[in-house]
């Protein structure tokens, strides 16, 4: 028996969510008195995982898995779980991992809880807390199956170091043609920009910005902070910004350390998507804007005056602190 995590990597580097997942798994393993095994796919050097409590890595290196294919990856994770007799299988909440996790759960005939926030409330019976109703509530879910699959919500646990001595093992799961029924034709990545999925800081703007021509200052603020840019729904509906940037209940969820909302009213559907961000800063000219109710820091004022000044001051701050 052990705990298995799928440690996601991109271009030979582990994603931050993979390190968070390892930290989380270590803690769960301690409470269950067991060890943590990670399965990796074409990850290159895996030694970094030893810093976060992983005891063993099953390394899958296979050119056929160069591009992400859900069925094949799910098959890999299933076989790794069976080899390790894993009772708990953990995945993150990236777009790819969300895609995988329900396939993995069915393949392992395991009860599955997604959007898990925090350590199990109890291990016997096995109960976890997850978000529900678009972050307006939490739900304690009990998993009754022998094997359990959990998907951890991003930034809900944190990254903690815990040294371990790592064993590495090459792993060659069987993958057949049936795993490749879905073929990737082409991939388009926005390069040179921080994506919302990877960002620690997100700078987001709404209809208060009046038009797409005013997004220069939002991009600049984001670039000073090393942040991703985002927007409210009407902004993407109006075509001012791409759909991939629309956050909220019907858009992307954002669980960052810092969320800066500029000229966004704070409608319930928008808040639903950003609620799990840790620190929220709101800049809005309307002191009655509902966003102030959920914000940690607020400035009442005109974005067109405040943002340029903030950029100048942050640049100076960054220079001092670099």
């Amino acid at each position: 028996m052990s705990i298995l995590i799928y440690a996601e990597s991109a271009e030979g580097k582990f994603k931050k969510v993979a390190l968070e997942l390892a930290s989380y798994a270590k803690k769960v393993a301690e409470s269950l008195g067991t060890t943590v095994t990670a399965v990796t796919v074409n990850a290159g050097d895996v030694s970094e995982l030893s810093k976060y409590g992983v005891d063993k890595v099953l390394k899958v290196n296979n050119d056929k898995l160069a591009g992400f294919t859900a069925k094949a990856y799910a098959d890999v994770i299933k076989q790794a779980a069976q080899k390790e007799a894993a009772k708990v299988v953990l995945l993150s909440s990236t777009t790819d991992s969300i895609y995988l996790s329900s396939l993995v759960a069915v393949a392992l005939e395991a009860g599955f809880a997604s959007n898990v926030v925090g350590l199990p409330v109890s291990t016997s019976p096995f109960q976890v807390k997850r978000t529900a109703f678009s972050n307006k509530a939490f739900n304690i879910t009990e998993i009754n199956t022998d094997v359990k699959v959990l998907a951890l919500a991003k930034n809900s646990y944190g990254i903690f170091e815990s040294a371990s001595s790592l064993t590495e093992e090459d792993f060659n799961p069987t993958i057949g043609d049936a795993d490749f029924g879905v073929k990737v034709v082409s991939v388009e990545k926005v390069s040179g920009k921080v994506s919302i999925a990877d960002a620690d800081i997100v700078v987001s703007a709404g209809r208060g910005l009046k038009g797409p021509e005013n997004w220069g200052m939002i991009e600049e603020l984001a670039s000073v902070l090393g942040a991703a840019t985002a927007c409210s729904k009407p902004v993407s509906d109006l075509g001012w910004r791409p759909h991939g940037e629309h956050v909220g209940q019907t858009g992307k969820p954002v669980a960052t350390n810092l969320y800066i909302a500029i000229g966004i009213s704070g409608a319930i559907q928008h808040i639903a998507g950003i609620n799990s961000s840790k620190v929220k800063v709101v800049i809005n000219s309307d002191p009655e804007a509902p966003f102030f109710k959920v914000a940690d820091y607020g400035i009442v004022g005109d974005a067109f005056e405040i943002v340029p000044q903030l950029i100048t001051k942050l640049k100076a701050f960054k220079e001092q602190h670099s």
Binding site: A70, K71, Y99, S101, S102, N135, K183, V185, S186, Q249
Partner: protein, 248 residues
């Protein structure tokens, strides 16, 4: 082409979320129900396939009789027929199992389900259906075209998008983008009238294991009040973000 659109019946996005029975159950009092937004995008796309490619569109929901108005709305929007699996949807796997049964018996080529529903946000059902049936599966689709026996879709990935192709049958996890919000269909009077005469079949559920159960709900702790900072004191904001919140 036979298309099945899975319809989840969810509280309207502005609903107040409360619990009853010792916080063990969602309080439906005064809650308005709607078609889950991601499913609504899927339904509209399916209606386009019906209009342009002669597809037949069936909608299905796993739920009690109270969900029928939601299915009638889907019929009024243009679906040809509806199915309700008469059961309380206890968890994602249970729902997926019921839907898989409907799909197996109905021989659908394309199954469209929202990538997640806005009540439990599980994001489980489409993948589980595909897993149970061994069908190909595409999640987070922002564009879908079907040509004879194959489907081409655009799907969102972290930091971009990719184009993928697959043979039929297939399960698609739909989201905004497969149609735009402005193109969503609203039932008109004629649609509402004809919906009344369309077939709504009620099926009894098949056995399914109860893998998970919701034991209790909690509401987030109340938030402390916002710290307001004067617009001419941005240094203070930077100071607070650096020293107090420690996020920059």
């Amino acid at each position: 082409m036979k298309i099945l659109v899975c319809i989840s019946h969810v509280p309207d996005t502005t609903s107040k979320i409360n619990f009853t029975n010792g916080d063990a159950e969602f309080d439906t009092n005064g809650v308005q129900y709607v078609i889950n937004p991601n499913d609504e995008f899927g339904l509209t796309r399916a209606i386009w396939f019906q209009e342009q490619q002669g597809a037949t569109v069936t909608v299905v929901n796993v739920g009690g009789p109270d969900t029928e108005p939601t299915l009638r709305k889907a019929l009024a929007i243009g679906a040809n027929e509806a199915i309700r699996v008469n059961a309380n949807p206890t968890d994602g796997f249970f729902v997926a199992k019921q839907l898989a049964e409907v799909i197996k018996n109905g021989g659908y080529d394309v199954v469209i389900a929202g990538k997640e529903s806005l009540d439990y946000n599980g994001g489980m059902v489409p993948g589980m259906i595909a897993g149970i049936l061994g069908y190909n599966f595409l999640n987070s689709c922002t564009g879908i075209t079907v040509d004879g026996t194959s489907v081409t879709a655009v799907r969102e990935i972290d930091g971009g998008k990719e184009t993928v192709s697959s043979s039929l049958p297939i399960v698609l996890g739909a989201q905004k983008g497969i149609v735009e919000e402005k193109d969503l269909r609203i039932p008109n009077m004629r649609g509402i009238m004809t919906a009344r005469t369309k077939v709504l079949t009620i099926l009894e559920p098949v056995e399914a294991a109860i893998n998970t159960k919701a034991v209790k709900f909690e509401k987030p702790a109340p938030k402390s009040a916002v710290k307001l900072i004067s617009a001419d004191n941005l240094d203070e904001l930077i100071n607070l973000l650096h020293n107090e919140a420690k996020v920059i």
